[in-house]
Amino acid sequence: MDLTGAEIVVQALKEEGVEYVWGYPGGAVLHIYDALFQEKALQHILVRHEQAATHAADGYARATGKVGVALVTSGPGATNAVTGIATAYMDSIPMVILTGQVPVPFIGSDAFQEVDITGITRPCVKHNFLVKRTEDIAETMAKAFYIARTGRPGPVLVDIPKDVTDPGVRVPFEYPKKVSMRSYKPVEKGNTRQVRKAVDLMVKARRPVVYTGGGVVLGEASEDLRKLIAHTHFPVTNTLMGLGSIAASDDHFLGMLGMHGTYEANMAMHEADLIIAVGARFDDRVTGKLAQFCPNAKIIHVDVDPASISKNVRVDVPIVGQVKPVLKDMLKFLKERKSGPDKAALKEWWARIKTWRDVDCLKYANSDKVIKPQYAIETLHKVTRRRNFYLTSDVGQHQMFAAQFYPFEKPRRWINSGGLGTMGFGLPAAMGVQQAFPKATVACVTGEASIQMCIQELATCAQHDLPLKIILLNNGYMGMVRQWQEFFYDKRYSHSYVDALPDFAKLAETYGHVGMTIENPGDLEAAYKEAFGMKDRLVFMNVIIDPEENVYPMIEAGKGHHEMHMSPHLSAERELA
C-alpha cells in the first residue's frame, strides 16, 4: 500500500492506538492536517496556544498512563511547545511531540518559520528525531513511541520537514510490528541479589522509612507498595509526584515530605536508620541540605533509571529495575524469611512518630470572615470525595495547599508539574484528563497568576464541551513569591502583587462558561455543591482568599529536615500549652 508521508504519520498514530491529538496547524504541518481532516478514528483538539497542546497531552498521559500526543508547526509553534516538553521531561511523562519543519533543502538557510527544534529541545527530551526521508517516517514514529513509553518514560520529539509529507510523494507503508534498537535496551527486573541485600537491611532496621515518588505511579506499582507496607508495617512518605501511590487514609502514611512536607514525615526521615527510596530521585525540594540528609540512615534506592541512583545522595543498596517487579520480589523474599522486622523496635519507632504526628503540623486558624486556602481545599475534598475525581493544579501556594490538604486515595488522581514547576500547566492538563475520562469530575485548582498564563484555553474548553471545574484561589499575589519575600526579603513585595485583575467570573462568561465569585467562608460549600452539580458546564469559581496566608511547615532551601518553620499559629498555641 503506497501512502504519502502525511498519511503515514496519521496511520502510525492509529497503529499506536492514539485517540487524541492536541495541536495547532501552521504552514509546515498543513499536509499532515489535510490527512487528519479525512481521518475519523483520531480526534484532534484545537488548542489556543501550543504550550497548552503539550500540557493537555501531558495531562492525558499522567491520568491514563498512555502516550500523549501533540502536533505543532515549525518555528514559533515548536518553540511555544518547549515549556510543555520540558515539563513532561522533568516528571518523566511519556509523550510524542510532532513538529513541522521547513523543507529539507531549506534547512539551515534561516527560512521562514525555521528553527532548529531538535537542537533546542535536545536537553529536555528523552530523545528526538529529524526525519529526512518519507521512507523513514513509519520506523521513526514506531521508535518514538517505543522510547517514550519504555524504561524511564519521557517526551520524544519527531521533527518532520514539509517536503517529507508532500502529497506528490508516495512510498510503500508497513508499520514495524516490533522495535528493537541496539543502542536502547531499557531494564526490566531488578537484580535479585541486590533485592535480597535490601531485604537483609529491611529485617534488621529499627527505624525504617519508605520514601516513594512518581516512579511508583508511572510504574503502576501502587498495589505492590500497599502490600509491602501492609506486610512490614513500615511508615511511608510520598513526594509531591508520588501522592496517591499509597492511600492517604492508610495509617502507615506520614504525608508528603520535603520543603512543605509534614513534620512527622521530615522528622522520620531525619531520625531513620533505613530509607527505602522507590521511584524517587532525591530532588533538592525533598532532601533539603544534602549534608544533613538522613544522617543516620542506610539507603536502598530502587529506580528504573541508573542515572538517578547516587546522583545527589550516595546509596548503600542500588537496585536498577522497574519498581513493580522489584517490589514484588521484595515482598516475596520478606515472606520467605523466618523472622521479619523487629516488632518491638517498630513499635517504639511508631510511638516516636506519634509524638511528631501529635504536633498536628497542618493545623491552621480558620476564620468566618475570610476564606482560608486550607479551608477551601478541605471543603473541596468534602464535596468531591465520593466522586470519580481528578485534581490538576498550577504552581505555587495553591499547589502546596492542595498537596497538603487533599487526601488522595488513588494514583494518577493528582496531576501537577512537580519538577519544572510550570505555571499555566493546570488548565490545559485538566483538558487532557477530561478528554480521557469524559464522565469523571475533573477540577483544576489554580491561582490568579498561574491561570492567566494559559487562560486562553477557556475557548478550547468551550469548543470541545469540557465541563471542568476551576477553583481559583485568588489572593491577589503570586503567593509563593510573596511568601519568600515576606520571609527572606523583609516583606519587600517586589512585583509579586498581581494588579489589574480581570473579573474572572465575567471573563469565564464571555467564553460561554459559568462564572462565580465566592468571598464568604459560609458560602463556600454551597457554591461548590452548586458548581459540581452542573455536570455539563465549565464552572469557574473565583474564590477570594486571605491575601497573606503562608504555607507551613516550611524548610528553607539549604536547611535540613529537622529545621522546619512551623506555622506561627501553631507555635503560639504550643507556648500557651
Partner: protein, 167 residues
C-alpha cells in the same frame, strides 16, 4: 581523577552534539574529545578525556549510557590500556638551525613531514607526556604552530569495546 572514556555511538546527525551538549548542560569537564567513524560505517567511536571525582565520573558514565544513541562505552582507565596522541608542530627551521631541529626530531622518533625554506612540520605520536616533553625541549621562539588530536585509547588484551566483545 583523569578518566579516558571510549564510546561507541550511532553514526547519526546530532550524535556528537548530544554528547557535547550533555557535558555542557551538566557542567562536566571535557579535556579532549575525538570522534571518527569505525570500520562499521553505522558506528562512530569517541574518546573523551575528562576529570572528576568518583561520583561525577559515575554520573558521566550513566548519563552517557542514558543517551539513546550510545550503543556501548568503556572507561579505559579502569583497566590496562594504551593511549596515543598525534601532534603536528610547525617550527622555524632557518639556515644554521635545520640540523639541530632534525636531530631533535630523531631523538623523539618524530617525522618531518613537510619542509619549506624556513620551516619544518614535525609529526609526533605518543603518550601525552611525550608530546609535552618534545614541546618543552624545543625553544618556544621556534614553535610556530601546534595541533594535537587529543588522546585515543584502546584496552589491552581480550577486553575491549566492540559490538560483540565483552566490556
Amino acid at each position: 581523577m583523569r578518566h579516558i572514556i571510549s564510546v561507541l555511538i550511532e553514526n547519526e546527525a546530532g550524535a556528537l552534539a548530544r554528547v557535547s551538549g550533555l557535558f555542557a548542560a551538566r557542567g562536566y569537564n571535557i579535556e579532549s574529545l575525538t570522534v571518527a567513524p569505525t570500520e562499521d560505517a553505522t558506528l562512530s567511536r569517541m574518546t573523551i578525556v575528562t576529570h572528576g571525582d568518583e561520583m561525577i565520573i559515575e554520573q558521566i558514565i550513566k548519563q552517557l549510557n542514558k543517551l539513546v544513541d550510545v550503543v556501548k562505552l568503556l572507561d579505559l582507565s579502569e583497566g590496562p590500556h594504551i593511549e596515543r596522541e598525534l601532534m603536528m608542530v610547525k617550527v622555524k627551521a632557518e639556515k644554521g638551525m635545520r640540523e639541530e631541529m632534525k636531530r631533535m626530531a630523531d631523538i623523539f622518533r618524530a617525522n618531518i613531514i613537510d619542509v619549506t625554506d624556513c620551516s619544518y612540520t614535525i609529526e609526533l605520536t605518543g603518550a601525552g607526556e611525550k608530546l609535552d616533553a618534545f614541546l618543552q625541549a624545543v625553544n618556544d621562539d621556534l614553535i610556530m604552530e601546534v595541533v594535537r588530536s587529543g588522546p585515543l585509547g584502546i584496552s589491552r588484551g581480550e577486553k575491549g569495546l566492540g559490538l560483540s566483545t565483552n566490556s
